[in-house]
């Protein structure tokens, strides 16, 4: 669920506030378009592991036992629509019994999004968690902006702490090999019914577990992610003032909308970032890969709609409805958010998860655009890889230690509505939260202290619950999700292993991203993408296709 921080938000100038994530639902706001184009590619990418072709017969995935949940205000669905709750139950059942830790230090690497939380002696929230877990939790926080440089350095220097949580969209190079070399095989503890010893971990779905499943073994515990990826937020007042239609049904209406809201004299523009993914989904470009009937894999870059989609994108940019600072704004989410809030951008292309950030300011009235095909009808909507992060324990044979690690994650993964989940989300009464009209309300201090980051590391399905945010937003999101479900499109390579992707994926991705950006900003004609795709193919794309096809055959 998602309680948007308000005043506390200003303290962290970093639009992506952890507090939004910590609530359970609103994971990693807007991470998806963080790095601009195609970033969604990073989120599933299979890099998080998957059965390597050489795998012996794999162990069964953990048995799924749906968590007991309170009655939702609006019910979700098995397809991925999230449950909506009006507020967090304060008297939820206990889901973890007995003592968890042994009083030892719990060093864990976590990627975070805001400023570091206050030190433990000034944080009743942290003290409470230490007491609950009977551990001395020591988070090693790596800010998201530093992760791509810091993590390889930690690996190269053999400085990883005992417990490591890796955000999967960060595309950590050679993660499967790293896991095998440095982390503990958890299969014995989690495979099949064994997971039932940790009931909250049993509440994590298969799609999540697949991210930590490699060479037929289970190496990591996932933090589940909603299936929805990115969307366009529309600023209702700006669009109304321009007398435009906020819900276009096809490309032409979309272009009309962009044109109508742009007013250069007043400094108002339709967009401030790259919407390449949105255009591709509108044009029906598949989610990274297509698996053909003969079992071969074809990249989405080779899809016939890719270049036309980019051509339209370039036209749109050329028509002047993008903010003049777009070349720099594309990589500056914080500033884009601010421009959207202040009405200088009429639309914001961002992650579904960032709804909490957008709704952070109660006065911001916005809507979410339902995707549409270029000629009307449905678009496609790319799904993610099922997990945001995967948490592992360094290689050990100490079964008691492994059991303790899993019990800690079992606590952290407690489902919405449980006592443990409430503690994780709200902390200490009177300090971190106050009860107003029977609803727990986080204090500014509580929001600050939540910046510990533990909620990122493990967990099952998320829910929408934002008693402190802009009213009606959860329902808005729920409705949107229901409309998008028929458009969901998986990446058939999401959980397959490719040696080439694993070792060269990021550089290849960067090449294509650079090529798309060049077309978007009008530096290169869209036709130039043919050469870029060819280069991508010879540089490793073709090999990836072959490897995925083999892996898929192997996996059956």
């Amino acid at each position: 669920m998602e309680i948007r921080n308000r005043s506390g938000f200003s303290a962290s100038d970093d639009g992506i506030s952890r507090r939004n994530l910590l609530r359970g639902a609103g994971l990693a706001a807007a991470l998806i378009p963080l790095s601009g184009v195609l970033a969604a590619c990073g989120s599933d990418s299979g890099g998080g592991g998957a059965a390597a072709p050489a795998a012996a017969k794999g162990v069964p995935l953990p048995t799924y036992v749906p968590p007991v949940k309170p009655k939702a205000l609006l019910e979700g669905s098995a397809e991925g629509v999230m449950d909506v709750y009006a507020s967090f139950p304060m008297d939820g059942p206990r889901t973890v019994n007995g003592t968890i830790g042994d009083g030892s230090d719990f060093n864990v690497l976590i990627m975070t999004y805001g400023q570091p939380s206050p030190p433990v002696d000034q944080s009743p929230y942290w003290q409470l968690l230490n007491k609950e877990l009977n551990l001395n939790v020591i988070p090693h926080q790596v800010p998201y902006a530093d992760f791509q440089t810091k993590f390889p350095a930690l690996v190269a220097g053999d400085d990883l702490p005992e417990f490591v949580s890796v955000p999967l969209y960060e595309n950590v190079a050679r993660l499967p090999q790293l896991a095998e070399a440095q982390f503990t095989d958890l299969s014995e503890f989690l495979s099949g019914d064994a997971v039932k010893k940790y009931p909250n971990l049993a509440g994590i779905q298969k799609a999540g577990w697949l991210n930590g499943y490699l060479n037929g073994r289970i190496y990591g515990v996932p933090k589940s992610d909603p299936v929805f990826s990115t969307q366009i937020y529309t600023k209702t007042d700006v669009i109304q003032a321009a007398g435009a239609n906020p819900q276009p049904a096809n490309l032409q209406e979309f272009k009309d909308l962009a044109k109508a809201v742009t007013n250069a004299q007043a400094g108002v523009y339709a967009f401030g970032g790259n919407i390449a993914d949105f255009m591709m989904m509108m044009f029906g470009v598949p989610n990274k890969w297509t698996r053909k009937a003969d079992g071969s894999f074809v990249s989405a870059w080779e899809h016939e709609a890719f270049i036309p989609a980019m051509s339209e994108l370039a036209e749109l940019y050329k028509s002047g409805c993008f903010h003049p600072d777009t070349p720099t704004l594309m990589n500056n989410k914080v500033q884009r958010d601010a421009l959207f809030r202040s009405g200088k951008l009429a639309m914001l292309y961002d992650g579904n998860r960032s709804v909490g950030i957008v709704a952070d300011d109660k006065d911001v009235v916005f809507d979410i655009m339902v995707p549409f095909g270029k000629d009307g009808g449905n678009a496609v909507h790319w799904t993610g890889g099922g997990a945001y992060a995967m948490t592992m324990i360094k290689k050990t044979t100490d079964k008691k230690r492994i059991d303790m690690f899993l019990r800690v994650l079992d606590y952290i993964a407690a489902p919405f509505g449980s006592r443990e989940s409430f503690i994780m989300s709200y902390g200490v009464e009177g300090v971190d939260y106050e009860v107003k009209d029977g609803v727990a309300v986080l204090t500014t201090r509580g929001q600050r202290e939540q910046d510990l980051g533990l909620a990122y590391i493990a967990g099952g399905p998320q829910v929408l619950c934002d008693p402190q945010g802009a009213p009606g937003v959860d329902k808005l999101n729920h409705d949107w999700q229901q409309k998008v479900v028929p458009m969901l499109l998986d990446n058939p390579a999401a959980h397959l292993y490719s040696e080439t992707f694993n070792s060269k994926g990021s550089a290849l991705q960067q090449q294509m991203q650079d090529a798309v950006t060049a077309v978007f900003l009008g530096r290169e004609p869209a036709s130039g993408l043919t050469a870029a795709v060819q280069k991508w193919k010879t540089g490793g794309g073709d090999k990836m296709a072959k490897e995925y096809a083999e892996a898929a055959t192997h996996a059956g």
């Binding site: 601009g36 220097g157 053999d158 903010h323 594309m330 994926g505």
Partner: protein, 324 residues
């Protein structure tokens, strides 16, 4: 360079015996030089620990190095990393961009601190001089993120200048995201940030010039320009040459952070330099072997530049970094 020359003099003044340095017993020399050696020790240790020992790690340029497998567990791949690099057009594009930026910075940036120092030296009022010095030093202490944000706020598409142009119905200009002028923009930013800071050493060089020379020249009727040309400049020349050569040594390091922050706005075609290439193709991908190979190539080119510059300095009768 100066070491050999300086040593006999120190000996002549400092030693109590008449024995020439070569004939002094080793222990005696050690004892005599102990204070100097102690003084130089920290620097030597730092150099050893952080420069020479890590050099051994260069072997990963010939390996498919995987950190968690270590040196023994990673495969040797011969010259594969190098062939992969030199056959990659993106690498050559990065090399070319780097050289262009290096050249621009040498031609446009390097003289600025010298001129500033000379100008500052002509300011007679100490307070005014101190004030100007403080102001021009200041940007050096700002991080690149802030400098680029400042440039963006002023010259960006929606910056102060363009906002003014747009609201007055004029055509805005594009500086921050124009690939054609990006290298000039980089150099301008570097000048704005560091030119003031760079004056320090030149001011010191000017201060070391005997004021008597200026007095005599003035008496003989030399004007400001002649004094500059015949006294100030020759007085600064050894320092200028030394700094120029040293600058060449790391001139291929053209500003990683500054470029990384602006790379996407103009594209890799004009903004990919060796350092960012290594970052995207080596560090992020975990291809340490390729990254190291690129680093080695860069090191070799830098070495070549230093040697060549030194040679030219010798031709012109300068001492350069070391003596012939």
């Amino acid at each position: 360079m100066a070491l050999k020359q300086a040593l006999p003099r120190v000996t002549a003044e400092g030693s109590e015996s008449q024995i020439t340095p070569q004939k002094m017993p080793f222990l005696a020399r050690l004892w005599r030089d102990a204070p100097l050696l102690v003084m130089v020790a920290p620097a030597a240790i730092v150099l050893l620990l952080f420069t020479y020992i890590p050099l051994l790690g260069s072997v990963v340029a010939w390996m498919d190095y995987v950190p968690f497998l270590g040196f023994t567990g990673s495969d040797w791949v011969g010259w594969d990393n190098f062939t992969a690099l030199v056959s990659d057009p993106a690498f050559w594009s990065a090399v070319w961009n780097t050289l262009q930026i290096t050249f621009l910075q040498l031609v446009l940036f390097f003289p600025v601190p010298i001129l500033l120092a000379v100008l500052l030296n002509t300011v007679a009022v100490p307070m005014a001089k101190n004030f100007v010095q403080s102001v021009i030093y200041l940007p050096h202490f700002l991080s690149w993120v802030i400098i680029i944000a400042l440039f963006q706020q002023v010259l960006g598409g929606a910056g102060v200048v363009n906002r003014f142009l747009i609201t007055h119905g004029l055509t805005p200009f594009e500086v921050m995201s124009n690939p054609d002028t990006f290298k000039l923009l980089l150099t301008t930013q570097a000048i704005w940030k560091d030119a003031g800071w760079g004056t320090i050493i030149f001011l010191a060089a000017i201060a070391a010039i005997d004021p008597g020379l200026y007095e005599s020249a003035t008496m003989d009727g030399a004007g400001a320009w002649r004094r500059f040309w015949h006294i100030t400049l020759p007085g600064m020349r050894p320092i200028i040459v030394l700094l120029l050569i040293l600058r060449l040594g790391d001139s291929l390091t053209v500003g990683f952070e500054q470029i990384l922050l602006q790379r996407d706005a103009v594209g890799p075609g004009s903004a990919e330099v060796l350092d960012t290439f290594v970052y995207y193709n080596g560090v992020v991908d975990g291809s340490w072997g390729t990254a190291t190979a690129a680093g080695l190539i860069k090191g070799v080119v830098s070495l070549f530049l230093v040697l060549a510059a030194n040679k030219i300095a010798h031709r012109f009768g300068e001492e350069g970094v070391y003596k012939r």
